[in-house]
């Protein structure tokens, strides 16, 4: 198999794989929020920014090439990812103490992983619409990070319930239904699109506090370990040793 170098380690890849896919399959974590192994990459969050042969690139969209020199674990990239994460926090309304996703949230866990202790930037405090019209699913747009995972999942399920509309600060998640409300859409609680949101924007109702705060996913493990354990098997190399 051809190989590239990631932080000094050789990573084999199958032609056509992206840098992200090859790294995760090899058991090496590269931070990501909008990438998911089951879907086409979206390339929007830029958390996966790495240095490839001296230039910044998104690991989730960049096809792997033999002999590439990739840096992901540098202090400069940690700082860049920290600032990106802080931007995501101030662009929305993220009040973790009152969010049912707290402890299971990938954005929050990314903050923990990067050592984030404040939000650095001035807050936007945008005004976004809450949609509580669905009996089984809540849509709290305050917490949406526009990763389009729900859009991709729902499209794959043949329902296309979600889409992003607008640009820049006006970007918002819209619903494909006659009234524009979730309750009138085809979304069911069992749909993958109802469970894929990495943050607390789309949550299944009546499930929020089954696991108490303090005992949740990212209370117990870092997003790096957790992500590898969950996503590596989906790339077909479940429990091979970490490539070295």
């Amino acid at each position: 198999m051809p190989e590239f170098l990631l932080d000094g380690r050789s990573v084999p890849f199958e032609p056509g794989q992206t840098v992200m896919e090859a790294a995760i399959a090899a058991g090496i974590y590269i931070p990501h929020l909008c990438w998911h192994p089951a879907f086409e990459p979206h390339g929007s969050c830029k958390l996966c920014t790495v240095d490839i042969d001296g230039r910044p690139a998104s690991a989730c969209t960049r096809p792997a090439e033999a002999g590439m020199q990739v840096t992901s674990g540098s202090e400069a990239l940690r700082r860049l990812r920290l600032r990106l994460t802080q931007m995501l926090f101030v662009e929305g309304n993220h009040f973790c103490p009152s969010c049912e996703k707290s402890g299971d949230c990938e954005l929050q866990a990314m903050g923990y992983y990067l050592g984030m202790t404040d939000n650095h930037y001035p807050h936007f405090y945008p005004r976004r619409e809450l949609d509580a019209s669905h009996p089984d699913i809540l849509l709290d747009r305050d917490r949406c990070i526009f990763c389009e995972l729900c859009v991709r999942a729902s499209r794959k399920e043949g329902k296309s319930v979600f889409a992003l509309a607008g640009r820049g600060p006006q970007t918002r998640l819209v619903i494909n239904s006659p009234s524009g409300r979730l309750g009138d859409s085809e979304l069911d609680a069992g749909d993958e699109a109802a469970g894929i949101c990495p943050v607390g924007a789309i949550v299944r109702r009546n499930t929020a506090y089954r696991v108490p705060i303090g005992q949740r996913r990212y209370d117990l493990a870092g997003i790096d370990e957790e992500s590898l354990a969950r996503e590596r098997p989906l790339l077909g190399r479940a429990d091979g040793p970490t490539e070295d």
């Binding site: 926090f89 101030v90 309304n93 993220h94 009040f95 973790c96 103490p97 009152s98 969010c99 707290s102 402890g103 929050q108 903050g111 923990y112 992983y113 050592g115 984030m116 202790t117 404040d118 939000n119 650095h120 001035p122 807050h123 405090y125 945008p126 005004r127 705060i213 870092g222």
Partner: protein, 180 residues
Amino acid sequence: MDRPKIRIATTSLAGCFGCHMSFLDIDERLLELTRMADFDRSPLTDIKQLGRCDIGIIEGGVCNAENVEVLRQFRERCTHLVAIGACAINGGIPALRNRYPLEACLEEAYLRGEGLHQPAIPDDPELPPLLEKVLPVHEVVQVDYTIPGCPPSADAIWSVLCALLAGREPELPRPLIHYD
């Protein structure tokens, strides 16, 4: 051998005193702390005038004119300013009002709310005027260190205090970083 004692001041702005309760939760370590430090202005001492301090600890965001004044004074008189807790860092629960105009919040609470006896918006001159939006501390003054959490754990607070008392740069270990 006697080093001059470190002076610490603390205040709660638009917060719930939960961070102060968590601070007290350092338990017997408080005794150790009082050997190294004296408390200046703080709800714990009930001293009202702020003197020169080494460390100022701010709980809560900034919701009214008095908060602004107190915060600016802390910045001026404290060498290190530490913002603790979700409210100080991003406005927290009080900032949930930021999406509504201030007037609408006052009307909802004092004119249209359930079970009001004599509906009227309070206007006593003693009451500090409210800001249009609740602001995190760093949007009003420069902040040196932050301890997130709602509230931050006693261990998180202790870890930062110990570093500052020892003249080290505080760095919260990953398990002590929590936003909830």
